[in-house]
């Protein structure tokens, strides 16, 4: 396993810290007066998503984390695992609930997403930023309320619940930002 010395640190580098794979978000050299150099490093723990700051000395080093982001196609859920396929190799990967987490409510079969592999097993599943999904349940639309104000909850085909304008009906397809859960518009389908 490769190791990185502090001098190799740069944004985006994946390293192991306290047994967890982390992504370096920021790295700043601080060198006080006549004292020794330190690096103030901001890291994102890829298992928990938490960002924290850690200070290192120049002679420290960290192991590289065997982490890779791959574009994959979502296949199906078997009740326990979510299955994905690398379209280049046709290799299939099963992600557990911890890896899929909140992404589950946005996953539609055959959609593309990014699967982060750690030691060749899914660590994090990131849905596309924008998805188009069908409304499967919502209160009936109100005529004449097309222009302004008012939202109502709508359940989408994947189970996600988003706020949509009052004029939307069951069977309509909506465009949603998965990062914020916000309704972006009616899909052009």
């Amino acid at each position: 396993m490769a190791t990185y010395s502090i001098n190799d640190f740069r944004t985006g580098l994946k390293v192991m810290l306290d047994g967890d794979p982390c992504n370096i978000v920021e790295n700043e050299l601080v060198k006080p007066g006549k004292g020794q150099a330190f690096n103030r490093v901001k890291l994102r723990n890829l298992t928990t998503g938490r960002v924290w700051e850690r200070t290192f000395r120049g002679n420290e080093s960290l192991e590289s984390a065997d982490v890779i982001d791959l574009d994959m196609e979502y296949l199906y859920n078997d009740g326990e695992f979510w299955h994905f396929m690398d379209p280049n190799t046709f290799d299939q990967f099963a992600a557990d609930e911890k890896a899929v987490a909140d992404a589950a409510k946005w996953l539609r079969e055959q959609d593309k997403c990014v699967v982060t592999l750690f030691n060749n097993a899914p660590l994090v599943v990131t849905p596309p930023n924008h998805v188009e999904l069908e409304v499967t349940q919502t209160d009936p639309g109100l005529k004449g309320d097309t222009a302004q104000g008012g939202t109502k909850p709508a359940t989408l085909s994947t189970g996600a619940v988003v706020k949509v304008p009052l004029f939307m009906n069951e069977g309509d397809v909506v465009r949603v930002d998965t990062r914020t859960g916000e309704y972006l518009g009616r899909a052009n389908s």
Binding site: N7, E28, L29, V30, K31, P32, G33, K34, G35, Q36, A37, F38, R40, W52, E53, R54, T55, F56, R57, G58, N59, E60
Partner: protein, 317 residues
């Protein structure tokens, strides 16, 4: 400025600002009858500071060190030809590149005969306020600096207390961290970011961080280094001493620096015998200071990276 790899790192305005700054600095010292001197960049010796690493040059098989400061050469000159002098030129430090570091940078260093650290601080303040009018100037002892922010006396508080405060503020593997390391960490992580805008002088450093400054008792009778640092808007700008002139003490400090380098697994650096001989011949009582000229430009022009003040920063040089 362009992003093409051949193009400069900085704008035409910064090229002009640097030229203007050099001219103002030279006028400041000309009016005060301080003589400009030109010191070698290639030296046979290097500073023993454990935390300054050399860029080594090979002159047809002879080892030379690109100098990290003109200090030793200027002191040898002072011992032989005593008069007030300054040097404005490039210095080199291995492995330093960040928003506030570049491995080669421009240093202004000057020595004033007969002045002590406090008198030299006043002169630094005059220079900086002349170059950047409307700069507020503050003076604070290292003791007061820690007392105001953390409620401790940095010279006398015990190691366990210092470590507990440090651990509460900073996540770090603290194996082997010394008292001075913790003091430095509290400075960089806590005290520096809290500094007010303007020029702040911190004086009376811990004796253990004396470098090449005299050590004398402060008002409370604690031995402190007659060393100061100037910070401009919270960024370290200058480091000065009421200079150590005692050759025996100087030899002792070289020795402890080398022992520390060895303990840290760093390459040995020989003591500069020529500097010691100059001190034995007699260095006149004086105060000296080194000021980072690129940082002065950075702070006065609103740049965010020192590279923006350089014609070609390290990655384009």
């Amino acid at each position: 400025m362009s992003d093409a790899p051949y193009s400069p790192s900085c704008s035409p305005a910064l090229i002009q600002a640097r030229a203007d700054l050099y001219r103002s600095i030279r006028e400041f010292f000309y009016r005060r009858d301080v003589l400009e001197v030109d010191m070698p960049l290639l030296g046979s010796h290097f500073v023993t500071d454990p935390f300054i690493q050399p860029i080594v040059a090979d002159n047809a098989g002879t080892r030379r060190y690109l100098q990290s400061s003109p200090e030793y050469a200027m002191k040898r000159l002072l011992a032989a030809q005593p008069r007030c002098i300054y040097a404005l030129g490039k210095v080199f430090r291995a492995g330093e590149r960040s928003r506030r570091h570049n491995p080669e940078f421009t240093m202004l260093e000057w020595y004033r005969l007969g002045l002590d650290d406090h008198q030299l601080m006043s002169e630094v303040a005059e220079l900086v306020t002349q170059l950047c009018p409307d700069t507020q100037v503050h003076y604070l002892s290292y003791h007061q600096w820690f007392a105001d922010s953390l409620g401790i006396n940095p010279h006398t508080c015990d190691f366990a207390q210092l470590r507990a405060i440090g651990k509460g503020l900073i996540e770090i593997d603290d194996t082997g961290l010394t008292r001075d390391d913790w003091l430095d960490l509290l400075v960089t992580h806590k005290l520096e970011p809290e500094m007010p805008p303007g020029l702040t002088f911190i004086y009376d450093y811990p004796a253990s961080q004396a470098a090449l400054a005299k050590i004398t008792p402060n008002k409370q009778g604690v031995l402190v280094a007659r060393r100061f640092e100037a910070f401009l808007n919270g960024m370290e700008l200058a480091n000065g001493y009421w200079e150590l002139t005692d050759p025996v003490e100087q030899r002792q400090r070289f020795h402890s620096d080398r022992a520390r380098r060895q303990a840290l697994g760093l390459a040995d650096v020989a003591a500069d015998e020529r500097l010691l001989q100059a001190l034995e011949a007699g260095l006149p009582e004086c105060a000296g200071v080194a000021l980072g000229v690129d940082r002065l430009l950075l702070q006065t022009t609103g740049c965010t990276d020192i590279g923006q003040t350089l014609a070609f920063a390290d990655e384009r040089a």
